[in-house]
């Protein structure tokens, strides 16, 4: 289990202590407060804290003196100083005396979070000893990334290998295979996991929105811009940026993107300060990017910059052994969200799902299960709850006979093998239907 980070807040203003206490408690830290430096030092004699967040200006002993005493006692302590009026002198003095960093009041919530995450990262790195390093590192659980087939185990292995590096990754695979989940898994298992995972759906961005969306803008940059707004690259600082549907971006966007990826710097719209951001790029596409490069519709230089590692997610039809696991998972997920008692699935329905080709992949399976739980009787998912009739034929039929067999079977299932209703739906007489059933050796699932 992860160690709970502890923070000691030292500030003479009660409202500041109160605010910071509430903020950190919600983040799951162990938090204590002291109203002056002397009290803080007394607390530190009997208890250890990973981070000390101290005001510089306090009555009696000030924050800088306290910092020196803490450092004299424990050199590797992480002390962050807070000041209402930051001056270069104060900052330099604090950093010279060993402060981890300093921050000016009031803080931007995002800056505070970043600062504490940086400190937390330092603590975790320090705590990583040789024993831990030699242990097998298991993948951090990412909900929804389900599968035990060989194909999926290979994907997870690749995720594990690539997560520890800083390389750009392109995830390829058909729509609905879970490319974003794989990207999240890479992030969650990387040293960047303490920082944001920012997702950008390139297909949804028009060129005109691009600049502000990716680079952000300054307050007053244009009418209505009342506050500064961070762009996606800035948000992803120290974390990962996921560019989905990368193949859809225009030529102009490709040039802009390449420039930012190379320099990792940009300027907010309406601003004049160059901002740098340390992000890792993970892209996804369901298109053949290499083919696009050959056709000249995707820049070769950008392709090679992005395509350092390629992870291909196989379609669901190539890992059908994962279907039972996925079905179980989605049943649990949707029963919970619909406040229904957990239900099962009968063997005929599961068998049929395993025979289906799922052109829409996992997303299609998920939608099917969700629908089945909504329309079902609340006991068990059966064939009649699954909307396989129309789609299944086109996937499994290889000849006209196959097509006819599958189609008749679906309509029989739809009408629970009621011959009269099925014949009526198929617009044939009952005798013709009986002949077809005989010809194709069709039987209800429970008689197979």
């Amino acid at each position: 289990m992860a160690k709970k980070i502890s923070i000691l807040i030292v500030d003479d203003e009660e409202s500041v202590r109160e605010s910071l206490y509430s903020w950190f408690i919600e983040d799951g830290y162990r938090v204590e407060c002291a109203e002056n430096a002397r009290k803080a030092l007394t607390i530190l004699e009997s208890d250890q804290f990973d981070i000390v967040l101290a005001d510089i200006k306090m009555p009696g002993m000030d924050g800088l003196e306290m910092l020196r005493r803490i450092k004299a006692h424990k050199k590797d302590s992480i002390v962050i100083v807070m000041t209402a009026f930051a001056t270069v002198d104060t900052a330099v003095k604090a950093l010279k005396d060993g402060a981890f960093d300093y921050i000016t009041k009031p803080f931007d919530p995002d800056d505070l979070t970043h600062l504490i995450r940086n400190a937390t990262k330092q603590i975790s790195l320090a705590d990583e000893n040789e024993t831990l390093k030699s242990q097998v590192i298991s993948l951090e659980n990412v909900e929804d990334l389900i599968g035990n087939s060989e194909a999926m185990r290979n994907v997870l292995k690749e995720v594990e290998n690539v997560a520890q590096t800083n390389s750009s990754v392109i995830i390829t695979g058909e729509s609905g295979t879970g490319k974003e989940l794989v990207a999240r898994a890479i992030h969650a298992n990387s040293p960047r996991k303490f920082f944001p995972f920012v997702s950008v759906h390139c297909g949804a961005l028009t060129e005109s929105l691009l600049e502000s969306e990716l680079f952000g803008h300054e307050k007053g940059a244009f009418t209505g811009a009342m506050y500064n707004r961070k762009g996606r690259f800035e948000m992803a600082d120290s974390g990962s940026i996921f560019l989905d549907e990368i193949a859809t971006i225009s030529n102009k966007m490709q040039v802009e993107l390449l420039r930012v990826l190379e320099s990792k710097t940009f300027i907010r719209v309406g601003g004049n300060k160059e901002i740098s951001s340390d992000f890792r790029v993970i892209c996804a596409t369901n298109k053949d990017l290499k083919g696009m490069v050959e056709k000249g519709t995707f820049r070769e230089d950008l392709f090679y910059r992005l395509n350092v590692v390629n992870i291909h997610i196989p379609p669901l039809r190539e890992r059908k052994t994962d279907i039972p696991l996925l079905v179980d998972y989605f049943i649990k997920k949707y029963c919970i969200s619909m406040n229904k008692s957990p239900i099962g699935i009968d063997s005929a329905a599961l068998k049929r799902l395993q025979e289906f080709n799922f052109p829409g992949n996992i997303r299609e399976l998920e939608n099917m299960i969700e629908r089945a739980i909504v329309v079902g009787d609340g006991k068990k998912i059966s064939l009649k709850d699954l909307p396989l009739e129309k789609t299944m034929v086109s996937n499994s039929a290889e000849s006209l006979d196959d097509f006819e067999r599958a189609f008749i079977l679906q309509i029989l299932i739809k009408y629970s093998w009621n011959i009269s209703r099925t014949a009526k739906a198929l617009k044939v007489d009952r005798v013709t239907l009986y002949n077809k059933i005989k010809k194709y050796d069709l039987k209800p699932a429970d008689q197979q």
Binding site: E26, A188, A221, I336
Partner: protein, 177 residues
Amino acid sequence: MNLQNITLISFGYFEKTFLEQIADAVAGEFHCGLNLKEGHIDLSEFYDAGRRQYNGNSLLKYVDMIQIPEAGKTLGLFNVDLFIPILTYIFGQAFLGGRTGIASLYRLSNDRYGIIGDDGFLLDRFTKEVIHELGHTFGLIHCNQPTCVMRSSTYVEDIDQKDRHFCLKCRESIGIL
């Protein structure tokens, strides 16, 4: 654990249908009874002229003092710019494991950032914020699951990255499995 009733009190003007949609989503997520009430407050008492914002700590305490019979958890809904002394702004806050929280719509609107307004985004963001703060009142701390509604969000687009729902672990923690 038996979940108690949740009361949402709106302070200031909100569209009725907007609030009803929030209420439905909250009731659906917590699977418990939900009351929607209208509150009246003199917000000038909470206004900090120096910062041109409203003090979130004081508002939270004010809402906490409102006694509502049979209300398990209470969340005050505002449409003003909230701050706490140490932070430049907050979207909301709550007493961890307590009975009260507050959330504000103010900074969730695209319009504040000079981007074309989007009612769908606004509803989605506010719903998440309301569920998130209520989650704190049930004792939930921030969650590391990328899409869990209890994931910490420090800027507006960060809210868009998560779902409206609790992850399985958070659900288990508060007994809504």
